[in-house]
């Protein structure tokens, strides 16, 4: 009880000080303008960076002085300034001796350095507020209602500058220029930079940027476009091919930027691309020859259709979802993870509509031994743990921040977070819980009769509440999760389809229309809003059918563009004027190496001969998959795997005994090819088809034939060396 009492005493003491000193301050004859804590002081603390996440705004404060992050909780800040540290931070009787002023002006040593000038406007305002007696609020004080920025849309030429003006509008109708107090940030500072004074500066890259102005937790955005100089005739865009709606929407965007698309990719590149994208494996030589021999006009459409019907489709796409959902079996148990994996794969085998997939997952009930989907709740046992993953995966709304403080770039606060969490307040479970490292027991999940979620600060019990819109709840017996699922998957919820179409688009096109792909917010706008909306609309119309979505995207003309730039699109990395190269996923690469060498990789915990794509846990030992990156199932929040390349990957391809063994195996394809009657030329052709999905050019044949002809090099050795070389080139490692 003592700490509470002493805090209470402090409040009283501070109160007396405050009363006594208000009088003194008046006697000093300060200017009449009453300084408002909320309207004047907090904005300065934000502007000077005092309450930033790396300084006093972090959860443990800095050197014992903590402010609310970016000033979202003025009551907290007021107490921190006036009541803590025995009142040394602000001294109304001698304002200049206040630590607040001395530290921030650098007059005494300050870890954060000098933040303002002792003769500047910020100093003066802070000093006046202290001298006026630290008023928490003025009587009848106006309230900030809206923040706007001018201009809201602007086209800039290379190197052009444009200052922004930020206006605040208050409840009494008054307005105020707060440009000097606002913070600015560009989402693409390489394209448009913005300085602390709000002056935007265009670079020499064509493209778009959203420049955000933030003032007291409110955000206004200016959208800037920098077209490529020079003109392109409208005719050019007019005559570009349009396979479906995607193409027109991409051309519109390119036209606004003055960018022109690349040439179509060669047939072989397209074929390898579409195989990797839809089923995660390379086409084999027979498939390549068959495609080459097919002269019908709809041959691409038939390849896409056939691939979508292949069993590898389900494993490949389930594998991607497993990245997002898969827990650590040492934590939740092998059987639970195995069943979860099987449930995900089954959904893709059946091409379960995406809304149904999400509904079944979010409302899952029953035993971990019978319904794999409940493993989500076995792994994430508290409402707040489920909330973050559900909002991020299925809405593209990152609420993690709002668990502990107001989201710095968004409207979400703690009440939003815990209101959503309340949907998970009545998940009952019985049976054996987590007992790592084995956790082998069965656990059953059901709708409990009671359970609630409280606001962590106020302690108030929060009813389930959606983040936006309406979500009618069912009767009292119904699990609140049912209501959540209806709201999530409702046709009115625009976030739900947009985040999934963006995810699939990013997989196929190499970059999301929104990046990061699950971070949809006003301050992170899509690079092509109409395209994202149209994809989402089509997806809803097609009844959330993922195969149709993939078919739509891969059928577009844009999907088939070359990765090689033209003069007018070399710097475009966002608008799909060319294809963006991606490194193959670890599983795809490893399966390709096994398919090509015809030497299987032995994995533990799966049937012999299983492919990497079929492995049901990231805990299976595999140096190859470790090197090429698989998600760490221990990380929280769960992460996407990254497609980056590393020196470790290169060393593994070059030197690993695993790959060396496959290339040099006596029972693999290399040995068979070498022992066959085939001519060196045929063998070379075969290896190119296997690795690059194309036949060699004449000079490439020549390189190979020279190798075969070298004295002292056996046929077997020549095949091994050529295959090793092909494995170690980017044309194999990347999807072009």
């Amino acid at each position: 009880m003592l700490p509470a009492c002493s805090r209470f005493l402090k409040v009283i003491v501070a109160g007396f000080v405050w009363l006594g000193l208000t009088v003194c301050a008046r006697a000093e004859g300060e200017p009449n303008d009453a300084v408002s804590f909320e309207l004047d002081i907090v904005p300065i603390l934000t502007r000077l960076g005092c309450n930033a996440g790396a300084c006093h705004g972090k959860a443990r404060g800095q050197n014992g002085f903590q402010l609310s992050l970016l000033g979202f909780y003025p009551d907290f800040d007021y107490a921190a300034l006036t009541q803590e540290a025995r009142g040394r931070r602000v001294a109304p009787s001698a304002p200049e001796s206040s630590l607040l002023l001395k530290k921030a002006a650098g007059l005494v040593p300050h870890g954060g350095g000098k933040r303002m000038e002792p003769d500047g406007a910020h100093y003066d305002l802070l000093r006046r507020w202290i001298a006026q007696g630290l008023r928490r609020a003025q009587p009848g004080e106006r309230v900030l209602e809206q923040v706007s920025v001018t201009p809201t849309d602007r086209t800039l030429a290379y190197h052009e500058q444009q200052p922004l003006v930020v206006m605040a509008r208050y409840s009494d109708g008054s307005t105020r220029d707060v440009t000097g107090l606002a913070a600015f940030q560009s989402n693409e500072s390489a394209i448009v930079a913005v300085d602390p004074a709000g002056v935007m500066q265009a670079s020499m890259l064509p493209g778009e940027a959203a420049v955000m102005a933030r003032y007291m937790g409110r955000i206004a955005v200016c959208n800037v476009i920098i077209p490529l100089p020079g003109s392109v005739s409208a005719d050019l865009y007019e005559h570009l091919p349009r396979h479906n709606f995607i193409d027109g929407l991409v051309w519109n965007k390119l036209q606004s930027l003055g960018i022109t698309p690349s040439m179509p990719a060669p047939e072989s590149t397209w074929l390898r691309r579409v195989y990797v994208d839809i089923i995660g494996r390379l086409p084999n030589p027979d498939e390549i020859r068959e495609y080459g021999a097919d002269s019908s006009t709809d041959r691409r459409a038939r390849v896409i259709e056939r691939l979508l019907g292949r069993p590898e489709y389900a494993d490949y796409w389930a594998n991607k979802w497993a990245d997002l959902l898969r827990p650590n079996p040492y934590r939740v148990g092998i059987k639970a993870v195995f069943n979860y994996d099987a449930w995900i794969r089954d959904a893709f085998r059946k091409n379960k509509p995406y809304d149904q997939f999400v509904r079944e997952l979010v409302t899952a009930q029953g035993s971990t031994w019978h319904n794999g989907a409940v493993t989500l709740f076995r792994d994430r046992r508290e409402p707040d743990e489920i909330t973050t993953i559900v909002s991020q995966l299925f809405l593209g709304i990152r609420l993690e921040c709002a668990k502990c403080h107001h989201h710095p770039f968004e409207k979400w606060g703690q009440e939003d977070f815990y209101g959503l969490a309340a949907y998970f307040s009545r998940i009952g479970h019985k049976g054996q819980g987590i007992s790592a490292p084995i956790s082998g027991g069965e656990e059953v999940f059901f709708t409990a009769t009671g359970g609630s979620v409280k606001h962590p600060l106020t302690g108030e019990v929060l009813p389930p509440k959606p983040l936006f819109g309406e979500a009618p709840s069912g009767n009292a017996e119904e699990d609140p999760r049912e209501g959540l699922a209806r709201w999530l998957t409702s046709p009115d919820n625009s976030y739900f389809p947009r985040v999934i179409v963006n995810r699939v688009w990013a997989d196929l096109m190499g970059r999301g229309i929104v990046e990061p792909i699950d971070d949809l917010r006003a301050t992170n706008p899509p690079t092509n809003g109409p395209l994202l909306d149209a994809l989402a609309r089509t997806f809803v119309e097609q009844k959330f059918d993922l195969k149709k979505l993939i078919q739509t995207i891969t059928s577009s003309y844009v999907y088939g563009l070359s990765s090689l730039p033209t003069e007018r699109n070399v710097s475009d990395t966002r608008n799909y004027s060319r294809h963006y190269r991606q490194r193959l996923r670890g599983e795809t690469l490893l399966d390709a190496v096994c398919d090509i060498t015809q030497v299987a990789e032995p994995f533990s915990g799966v049937a012999p001969g299983s492919r990497a794509m079929e492995v049901w846990t990231h805990r299976t030992d595999s140096l190859f998959l470790d090197s090429f990156g698989r998600p760490d199932p221990n990380r929280d929040p769960p992460c996407e795997r990254t497609g980056e390349t590393t020196v470790v990957q290169v060393l593994h391809l070059m030197n690993s005994p695993g790959i060396h063994g496959k290339v040099a195996s006596d029972t693999g394809r290399v040995a068979r090819l070498a022992a066959s009657e085939k001519s060196p030329r045929d063998i070379i052709g075969e290896l190119y088809l296997l690795t690059y999905a194309r036949l060699p050019a004449d000079d490439e044949y020549a390189v190979g034939e020279k190798l075969f002809a070298e004295s002292g090099v056996s046929r077997r050795q020549a095949v091994e060396d050529l295959l090793w070389a092909l494995f170690n080139t980017p044309e194999f490692v990347f999807k072009d």
Partner: protein, 442 residues
């Protein structure tokens, strides 16, 4: 094309010429070091400090290692007697003989404590310097914050395309990179270096492939690599990064000095004997060689320190071998003049319970633990902090895992107060309390 040679082809004469004749011999790695220094055009007077972190997974007992309590009741003090060390007034437990002989080079911190007496949480706290954000269980493998090794790899790099963070024989539970990403994950070398067939994975040519043939493959690769690179920086072609890594990889494979670093077999037998012909001893020796080659962070993971049962019998078997390997490592580093720039740390996730349980074991206990530090300019012959009379809790100079982590970062030349940003833009201090253990700085 520089001259290259594979470790397989190195003759005894080469060894002598290179000066790896003995434990006291000069170091062939000087050559490598000079090369590394020349490469970055910024000659430094001294080598940057590296860290060898010996992780005793399970939580080693403080009573039977560095914090004996001979005056405690028998159900607490246990079966082992204390022994005197080279530093008067400092006592270790009876098996720590070799370390007692070099106690003047060691600093034992007896007063680090935390509140997470389960493996999942304790591992995370000590391995990252950050507590878990939510309570986690014993079996949990969690990652909420980048590990000491990953941050080091992020802030420092190794010469010659070497990975900057090694972990042997596997990654420790919370030893991953978290938000820093795959590039900063540990390079795991799993095989047994005590075996005659041992090779560090992937950094040398596969067995059976001659150098000449590898050179031939390189030539073929150069000839078949026809993919067009997009050279304009603004195009962000990921293939160009791959090219850089191949250049690094070739450099590593063809650099005789770098290759020597991995070749534990070239170490004279008496040196290998001194480290102990067991997996841990040989890993410690390999760690020294990696430090010589410029690797900044190496974790040696040793499992099996969770002595809930038969603690005395188990330790009778395990401790003598283990502690003499650690002593050999510190000794060897010292004799080679490398101890000043190498930090050796030995710890686990927590200490163990004061009362011996019914199974003659000790259970998890986070209120007290002992951590060994040596090298990197740490004043030796000292004990920092103390537990109470019976070893229940750190009672003098109580220190936190944050102080521990900050000490390691400071020694490695990394500012623990530095702010890193997650991909979401959230600022994160490397360590939330950047104060190191002052006594360990001269």
């Amino acid at each position: 094309m520089p001259e290259y040679r594979n470790c397989n082809g190195v003759t005894r004469r080469d060894c002598l010429r290179l000066g790896v004749g003995g434990l006291l011999g000069g170091t062939f790695v000087d050559a490598l070091r000079l090369r590394g220094l020349a490469a970055d055009d910024a000659p430094r007077a001294t080598r940057p400090t590296s860290c060898i972190l010996v992780w005793l997974d399970g939580g080693p007992t403080h009573y039977e290692t560095f914090d004996p309590k001979p005056l405690a009741p028998s159900e607490i003090r246990g079966e082992f007697e204390p022994i005197a060390t080279k530093v008067s007034g400092v006592h270790f437990s009876k098996h720590m003989r070799q370390l007692a002989n070099i106690a003047d080079k060691l600093a034992i911190v007896r007063s680090i404590r935390h509140h997470d007496p389960n493996h999942g949480g304790g591992n995370h706290y000590m391995m990252t310097g950050a507590p878990t954000r939510v309570p986690v269980g014993c079996g949990d493998f969690v990652s909420f914050h980048p590990s000491l090794g990953s941050v080091t790899a992020h802030e420092r790099s190794a010469a010659d395309g070497l990975p900057a963070y090694f972990s042997m024989p596997n990654m420790s539970r919370s030893g991953g990179p978290n938000f820093l990403g795959a590039r900063y994950a540990p390079f795991v070398t799993g095989d047994n270096p005590n075996s005659t067939a041992f090779r560090v994975r992937d950094v040398a040519l596969p067995q059976g492939l001659s150098e000449g043939r590898f050179q031939g493959r390189r030539d073929v690769r150069a000839a078949v690599d026809k993919m067009v690179r997009i050279n304009d920086q603004a195009a962000g072609d990921p293939v160009r990064a791959l090219d850089d890594y191949y250049a690094q990889g070739y450099n590593l494979v063809t650099s005789p000095a770098a290759q020597k670093a991995f070749d534990i077999h070239s170490e004279p037998p008496h040196v290998r004997d001194k480290y102990g012909r067991n997996t841990f001893g040989q890993r410690a020796l390999l760690a020294r060689r990696l430090v010589e080659a410029g690797v900044p962070f190496i974790t040696l993971y040793e499992g099996g320190w969770d002595h809930h049962t038969d603690i005395f019998k188990s330790l009778d078997k395990r401790l003598p071998e283990f502690e003499s390997s650690v002593a050999a490592l510190i000794d060897d580093l010292d004799q080679r003049g490398m101890l000043e720039t190498t930090l050796v740390v030995v710890l686990g996730e927590f200490g163990r319970t004061p009362k011996i349980n019914k199974d003659v074991g000790r259970d998890h206990w986070a209120s007290a633990m002992s951590v060994l530090f040596a090298g990197a300019g740490i004043p030796g012959g000292q004990v920092v902090g103390a537990t109470d009379r019976n070893g229940y809790a750190a009672s003098e100079r109580v220190l936190s895992p944050e102080n521990f982590a900050s000490t390691i970062y400071r020694k490695l030349g990394i500012d623990p107060d530095k702010v890193l940003y997650t991909p979401d833009g959230r600022p994160v201090h490397i360590v939330s309390d950047p104060n190191p253990i002052a006594e360990l700085f001269a």
